[in-house]
């Protein structure tokens, strides 16, 4: 019998603790790794019962193998069977049977989790991308009703045929709408609009016990509050009504910094003063720190040039290049780093200026541009993206301490920082989420993304790296975007027992057999 770690809280029908010894990482307490595979005895009866209800459960190696891991590529697990989502009715039947036979159901949208949150360690994998239809576009009311398995990109394709666009979505084409609403979703316009989940007006949800419920800020309010940013614990989002807007291309500007602290301060200054429509920081290590500023209209851009640009301490590309050259000229022992910066710049910058996406100096389809670049330059079969989310005043410290951890572990990495407008009316949604409870006005998030190139890193090294970043969050009293799956050991440390226990009670009430996304949070 493997002893439970002190912070392991068994749940009814739950999994045995991680079999890797707690001392396997010298000096670093192991938090959580792949859960053991569920191996319930009733699988075959469950499949028979599901098929009786016209649910197609695919059990082939091909069907299951496709979902063996998520975008992180460090958590591996196989479902016993796969169900492709077809309708709320089908999902309702599936969850009812799953409750009866206590079979775990792991819901997957784009599969862009990095901590194994969308990996099924046995049981059913419910592939939501089967529900990818746009149901209704209202160009006058500026709303769209869509099935929730749809990729944001597919939604954008549909909306563009009406000259419309979504308001806020992750800079990643293959995130699904439902998955994003379940965790937040950050865009470079989040400093003005809040996270992607803040754009949801109403949802159709299938609860863990199979009821199909419409919820919003006025209807089934409590369910709405728990499902939005709820990490899939309280229901499967099957449809969503989202606010949308008229499509506009972007007027992009880049400012370059040699200091993280200065860039973050300038970013926060812009956000506080509503000086831009889009803002964010993207870096090459801590050497080339790029503050991105963009506008929807010429008026806003003009106002920025007139009032705010002179207050920024960043430089244009040429001036920054010369300063960087001067810096490395007197540091010959750093030539390898300088060479890397130069190479990276050569490869990366043209990608953001490809002629087919730039017309009259306007960037069209920013999500396409950024997403293609993200996958091309940062994607690989293994990805870890630990993050820190804090209130404004703690953010510089969080970024600088996280940066030091990156330097310790990896030769090359990228930081992505963005503000998130805290919407007062949505406070109840934010409970136990990436929005830290002490955030006033804006929360700030920073992702720490190693560039792994062709390096091979053990899971333990990657876990140690993530743990060191997450320890900063505990220390600062912040939060995280990716606190589920392999990082769930931090949940009690960051949110406290009282809050987590309250949510666990709600989860037990909503999901008696604890079948829905069981390995993600609790």
């Amino acid at each position: 019998m493997i002893p439970a770690e002190p912070n392991f809280h068994p749940i009814p029908g739950g999994l045995v603790p991680c079999p890797v010894g707690p001392d396997s990482l010298r000096g670093i307490k192991r938090q959580q790794t792949n859960p053991s595979r569920w191996d319930g005895p009733d699988w075959q009866q469950f499949v028979a019962a599901a098929r009786e209800r016209d649910i197609n459960v695919r059990e082939t190696t091909t069907a299951c193998g496709v979902f063996a891991t998520d975008a992180g590529g460090t958590a591996y697990g196989l479902p016993h069977g796969v169900v492709i989502a077809q309708s709320a009715g089908q999902i309702s039947k599936l969850l009812k049977v799953a409750q009866e036979y206590r079979v775990p159901v792991t819901v997957r949208g784009g599969g862009l989790t990095t901590e194994g949150e969308s990996v099924a360690f046995g049981g059913v994998l419910l592939d939501m991308t089967g529900m990818s239809q746009v149901l209704n576009v209202d160009p006058d009311g500026l709303t769209v009703r869509t099935q929730a398995g749809i990729f944001w990109h597919a939604l954008a394709e549909e909306l563009r045929r009406h000259d419309l666009d979504y308001l806020s979505a992750p800079l990643n084409l293959t995130s699904s709408v439902g998955g994003t609403l379940g965790v937040g979703g950050i865009d470079v316009n989040s400093p003005r609009l809040g996270c992607s989940a803040d754009q949801a007006m109403a949802l159709q949800v299938v609860t863990p016990t199979g009821e199909i419920v419409e919820c919003s800020d006025t209807q089934n309010i409590e369910l709405f509050q728990r499902v939005i940013l709820g990490y899939g614990q309280f229901g499967v989002i099957t449809e969503a009504t989202l606010r949308i807007r008229r499509y506009t291309p972007l007027r992009m500007h880049y400012f370059y910094y040699g200091s993280l602290c200065t860039a973050v301060e300038d970013l926060q200054m812009l956000d506080r003063n509503d000086a831009s429509d889009y803002s964010g920081i993207l870096t090459i290590m801590d050497r080339a720190v790029n503050l991105l500023v963009a506008f929807d209209s010429v008026e806003r851009e003009t106002e920025f040039h007139k009032t705010w640009q002179s207050k920024l301490r960043g430089h244009g590309e040429l001036a920054f290049g010369l300063r960087t050259l001067a810096r490395y000229a007197v540091r010959p022992w750093k030539y390898a780093e300088a060479w890397y910066l130069l190479q990276r710049k050569r490869e990366l910058f043209p990608e953001f200026r490809r002629s087919e996406y730039m017309r009259d100096s306007l960037m069209h389809d920013r999500t396409v541009v950024f997403s293609r670049a993200v996958w091309k330059f940062w994607g690989s079969r293994q990805m870890v993206i630990p993050d820190l989310a804090t209130s404004s005043d703690k953010f510089v410290e969080a970024v600088e301490r996280g940066n030091a951890v990156c330097r310790k572990y990896f030769a090359h990495y990228t930081l992505y920082c963005v503000g998130i407008k805290v919407r007062l009316e949505h406070r109840p949604h934010y409970e136990m989420s990436c929005i830290p409870p002490d955030a006033e006005g804006w929360a700030y998030g920073c992702e720490f993304e190693p560039v792994m190139d062709d390096g091979i890193y053990s899971r333990d090294t990657l876990q140690s790296f993530k743990n060191e970043i997450y320890d900063i969050g505990v220390d600062l009293g912040g939060s995280y975007y990716r606190f589920g799956g392999m990082m769930k050991g931090y949940i009690r440390r960051i949110f406290g027992d009282a809050l987590v226990d309250r949510h666990l009670e709600m989860k037990r009430a909503a999901d008696p057999a604890m079948i829905l996304n069981r390995d993600v949070i609790f």
Binding site: T60, T61, T62, A63, G65, V66, F67, A68, T69, D70, A71, G73, I84, G110, G111, D127, T129, G130, M131, S132, G149, F151, H153, A154, A156, E157, E158, R160, R161, H162, L173, T174, S355, E356, Y357, D365, T367, V368, S371, R372, W375, K376, G379, S380, R381, M383
Partner: protein
């Protein structure tokens, strides 16, 4: 198997490099129709990573239309079209695939330095259209050996004898210009005849001033996807130039990938299963305000005529319709 039939890139990446990003799904017509990840490059790569045998993926391997849309968007730069062709060769052609001796075509065509037009199946079946196209292109010879049997064998995963291939290539080597209507054949000719003056029929026709100037701002111009995606980096700029010059709409998505007007799987393309492709043409037309559809590929007229009343024109017929 001839070495010529293998992947073209010296450092070609394979399914093992697939990160599972799903970008290929966004452009794949099979995904659009089925929402079944097993039938996509992502699904095939992940299945292969997990040691699934090709024989257990037959439906997936046959479902691919070889439109090539997934290849330019794959951030890992996996030769996804080659991957399907390789898998098809592993499986062998489906039952019912004609097994006529392709060698019979050898020597059909005198070796010449004149520009050659290699027709596709649709043009071969419509001699009048073919002649008109050739006349418009001016001074081109019709290739007696158009390699259509090779294109079909490639698509089906059938054996192509090295002798047959060599005869075909020999007949092309001296030509000053090769205008190729079949996008899959064009992709392969680019690797079999490195440096040869190859151009797709669509690009050749749209480069003619009289054709180009006949395009209107209210036209939807339908690019032939296979040739476009095979030479994406260059052609995305070419068509962007055409858009800037003529202001017409294109069958391009937000990633500037060509949406195929139809999505026949292998069995459908070989005529062994009925077609059910209206969805693609409907999606291309969805929400667009256009007065005319102009297709690069003669065969694509039908896909639009089946689902809409908007006039459809073959690119070479534009000059007859007159400039605007």
């Amino acid at each position: 198997m001839s070495g010529l039939l293998r992947g073209n890139s010296p450092i070609s990446k394979t399914y093992a490099d697939c990160s599972g990003c799903s970008l290929c799904l966004l452009v794949c017509p099979v995904w659009r129709r089925t929402c079944d990840i097993e039938l996509t490059p992502h699904g095939r790569s992940k299945a292969l990573q997990n040691d699934v045998r090709p024989a257990d993926m037959t439906i997936s391997i046959q479902s691919c239309t070889l439109c090539g849309a997934c290849e330019p968007v794959c951030p890992e730069r996996i030769n996804l079209t080659d991957m399907v062709l390789d898998l098809r060769r592993t499986l062998g052609p489906p039952p019912g695939f004609p097994t006529s001796a392709p060698e019979s075509r050898a020597g059909l065509q005198p070796i010449s330095s004149a520009p050659l037009l290699l027709r596709d199946r649709a043009l071969a079946a419509n001699p009048e259209v073919l002649n008109h196209t050739a006349t418009l292109l001016g001074g081109v010879m019709m290739a007696g050996d158009d390699g259509s049997d090779i294109a079909l064998a490639l698509e089906a995963g059938a054996e192509i004898s090295p002798q047959r291939l060599e005869n075909f290539l020999t007949s092309l080597r001296r030509s000053a210009k090769l205008i190729v209507a079949d996008g899959l054949l064009l992709r392969h000719l680019a690797r079999w005849l490195p440096g040869a003056p190859l151009v797709s029929l669509g690009e050749a026709l749209s480069g003619l001033p009289e054709v180009r100037n006949s395009l209107r701002a209210t036209d939807l111009y339908v690019i032939e996807p296979r040739a476009y995606h095979a030479d994406y980096q260059r052609l995305v700029k070419y068509y962007d130039g055409l858009r800037a010059a003529r202001a017409c709409a294109f069958n391009l998505d937000l990633q500037r990938i060509a949406i195929p007007p139809s999505a026949p799987n292998l069995m459908q393309r070989l005529g062994l299963a009925p077609q059910d492709n209206d969805g693609q043409a409907c999606w291309i037309l969805h929400g667009r305000r256009i007065s005319r559809i102009v297709v690069e590929r003669y065969e694509d007229r039908t896909a639009f005529e089946n689902v809409s009343d908007i006039p459809v024109m073959y690119l070479a017929d534009l000059t007859e319709a007159g400039a605007c």
